[in-house]
Subunit: 269 residues, 2 copies
Amino acid sequence: MDAREKLQKVLDENKHICIGLDTDENKIPDYLKGEKNALQLFNKIIIENTYEQVAAYKLNFAFYERMGTKGFEILEETLSYIPSKILTIGDAKRGDIGNTCEMYADAIFNKLNFDSVTLNPYMGYDSVEPFLKFKDKINFILVLTSNKSSNDFEKLKLENGKYLFQQVLNSVNNWNVHNNCGIVFGATNLEELKNNCDNFNNLFVLLPGVGAQGGSLEEVTRLFKLNKNNNYLVNISRALIYCENSTKFPKIISETLKNYNKIAMETSR
Amino acid sequence: MDAREKLQKVLDENKHICIGLDTDENKIPDYLKGEKNALQLFNKIIIENTYEQVAAYKLNFAFYERMGTKGFEILEETLSYIPSKILTIGDAKRGDIGNTCEMYADAIFNKLNFDSVTLNPYMGYDSVEPFLKFKDKINFILVLTSNKSSNDFEKLKLENGKYLFQQVLNSVNNWNVHNNCGIVFGATNLEELKNNCDNFNNLFVLLPGVGAQGGSLEEVTRLFKLNKNNNYLVNISRALIYCENSTKFPKIISETLKNYNKIAMETSR
């Protein structure tokens, strides 16, 4: 199924929360720690108790890579739990020379069958082009990130008066020939979101930084609704998946997500 | 063993070639294709026939990730063939928020025990800081890359008159408190190498782009010798590891490398 249609469908149902499966063996509920395949089980419980209410699941490669070959197996197993109608995001932040990115794109889109990926634009067009050739996938390219040091380079002023991240945003708009581009824009940068959302056009926007990093779901929701832009995903990782340590975890993660959805719905009225 | 001491020792022996193990099942010599564990065998042959003459081995994660869990096993197995006195570079081009990069650094430095890594600076200081905390490793940070599209952003002019990549170079110099930073600078950009090498200071310089990408070993060697800078590594991947398709491969890769070393030595006189 075309990733763009898949995402458009859930966005039209007013679902905007993406759950970040930043799965960490030290942080999963105590009652799961002794279980065989505890991490797979943890992810399975999350998915089973949230899939009807989410827009997407984002798998952060770092958390799986850390466990070596076993981590790779857990990642593949986790993908198999996700109903095919829900968008999957491979949060890998790839970017390399073309020859290498052909391999990464093959790994992420063909072998792992992710619907979408996150990409780092530093090396320019030919470093993302192998991904853009996949017309039915979505490529979320870093524009302005949610971390403090986004000031270091992303917010440098260029000779033309623009910030570097604005130049990247312009380029992504130009690269969006197949309508398969998206951007990553930190929800922690509300002012910059306001100042630049006119230039988001039909790009899908992935907003990390809500929850543990301090961004506000209400504020970003209000902003997008005000701009009549429905093409946004708000990623929440730690604040959701580590919401409860007891055996009530399945019930409570479902309720916590419902609450987030409720906040989003009420704000949007 | 401290990665910096390890590298310094081989550089002092006038070895500067880094072999990029961009191992691709479609490109290995025909006589190996039918073998069990052909890719491990291919890497093992390369290492056994080159380790006395190289400065480092660089493993490009893309080529292994593409094979899923099996690829991860091949990567780990390959690392076990490399004599501990030779520097290993995990060419992963990582860059993410701090919390995530803690995981990547743990994976690459602790679990896989690489001596060094390549990093993407787009997200700024806090995105590389978890790596910099490893004082006895080397962090090669992208400055100016070897691909054509390095013009897109890396060579954008900033308000202060510098190129973005020059600003990154300045920052890496500032981040080098533990003397554990290096940079990636494309050998394809000879003019920029000339214009910026005064600012390399004591950073280790990894130069990709020689061979298949068109950079010249003679020219970069001449430049570094002229500047009395001995802290450079010239990466060669495809032009070396796919130098021969017959059973003479072990002998010919050894001779090809000897030739590269000879060119480097003669140029440096």
